[in-house]
Amino acid sequence: MSQEMTLDPVQGQLDKSPAKGAPKKRSQWLEVWHRLKRDKMAMLGLFIITLVVLAAIFADLIADYETVVIAQNLADRLQGPSAQYWLGTDEFGRDIFARIIHGTRVSLMVGVLSVAIAIVMGGGLGAVAGYYGGKIDNVIMRVMDIFLAVPSILLAIAIVSALGANLMNLMLAIAISSVPTYARVVRASVLTIRDQEFIEAARAIGASDLRIIFRHIIPNCLSPVIVQGALGVAGAILSTAGLSFIGLGIQPPEPEWGAMLAGGRQYLRHAWHVTTFPGLTIMITILALNLLGDGLRDALDPRLKH
């Protein structure tokens, strides 16, 4: 847990050599967790997300991919919810429940990976822009402005339609369209940290720019990035569903929530469940991530809470 020490240099030093008789200091992350635990809505969000993650991990135990999730069974097509098919079947007679469970894998993977890519790219650019300032800052942020001038869903659509619709391009498109957000968030917090005394101290003892950025600045601007990241995963899952809905995301027969919705669209009149349940799943997952994100924001920065 050496990371905790770098979070706050002053506190970090105290942790290394605790003064005799001084009250034991709780680490910053533990403090955040204790605050988060008191937030019932955030805990509800965390609980739902845990369920979704478990569903993704154990999807194969719940339903077999080859025989249940993608194999067609036209005799049982468009059946309503029953004891055999909890959420009914789709237009190819496939179990919607099983497909939703397997769909968690795609959604979580795209959500988490695209946000990770965006944080690395955007965060790096933002840190460099904020730290060096001047011309570099100007150039990077003006380029970011250009990206921000295109609505993110539009940018993602343009990228996927040019590169071709597959999982990798989808993640890349969603990541690129959210890079400017992270660049802005990181740059803003770097600007507030850059001129503080402990950075000056690090520079005075001869630390290189890279070391200062990675060891001192980045750990100190993690909290806004974490909050933005939680909300970003929600956004990425929504974008994935949206792109798949218009045929630019995950391609059939692979189970993806947005694609499932799109498939059921023509059968709305006769089979309401085909579009209803995948949509509900998306909504509940996004809601959970938003609840957790809001809770994290309050827990990481209690001053912001009204």
Partner: protein, 308 residues
Amino acid sequence: MHRFILKRLLLLIPVLLGVSLLVFAIMSFTPGDPAQLILGENAPPEAVAELREEMGLNDPFLLRYARFVGNAATGDLGQSYTSGRDVFDEIFSRFPNTLILAALGVVIAVIIGIPIGIISATRQYSMIDSGSMFFALLGVSMPNFWLGLMMILLFSVNLGWVPSGGYSSWSSLIMPAITLGTGSAAIITRMTRSSMLEVIRQDYIRTARAKGVAENVVINRHALKNALIPVITVIGLQFGMLLGGAVLTETVFSWPGVGRMMVDAIRQKDAPTVLGTVVFLATTFSLVNLLVDLLYGFVDPRIKSQYA
């Protein structure tokens, strides 16, 4: 102020050039030969090569881009590969439909969002507050294309009150506008509430109350004016988002707007139309954002004085 407007307008030029370069570069990655697409799969290779030369597709990238910008500046976005129609004309014949939908969506969002935000703020932590905040969160979490489908299911399929798609009469507008406005309503509600909460803690509000001003006057006259300043920005930005990002809603409701034109063009690999619509929507989005910034200066004189 005029200088400020002029400066901002000039700053828009590099942004638009950048946007179009970005989209142009992305689109030039598109696999498939446009000449082949136009002539059909069985066309002789010589004819395809000839057309490629004629269309300037063999020219270097920057030359093609410069030609595109030059033409675009004079309102020529090329012809559709599939229909042969002028892309610019087609966009402008559809744009009013997108505009009216976005405008109505924002109106709905404002009518719902601002009153609920004010009530939530004045009764912080009450049942009404928690309830409306939960619904606001639900509104942000709902995929709007799904909301649209659910409304079609209930109001068109089951109740038969309104048409499920297309644009035949004013009643076709209701569901797409609600679908589009819901997310914005949620965002405006949250923004109004937090802005209002900040303002009603300020000293001048306490002074007003201490003077004996009636509570509803304190809220509606004193607090609201200042609380709405950041909300106006959000409303403007939402309008821009709805104009540029109504793609999914337009698809769900078969709405004859620019967003759906783009989706159809992507399916048909009609590059000039895709390029034209993306650049057009991004330009609209940037222009609306600029207007919001300018409007902000009018609403809050403190900001204007910074640029005077």
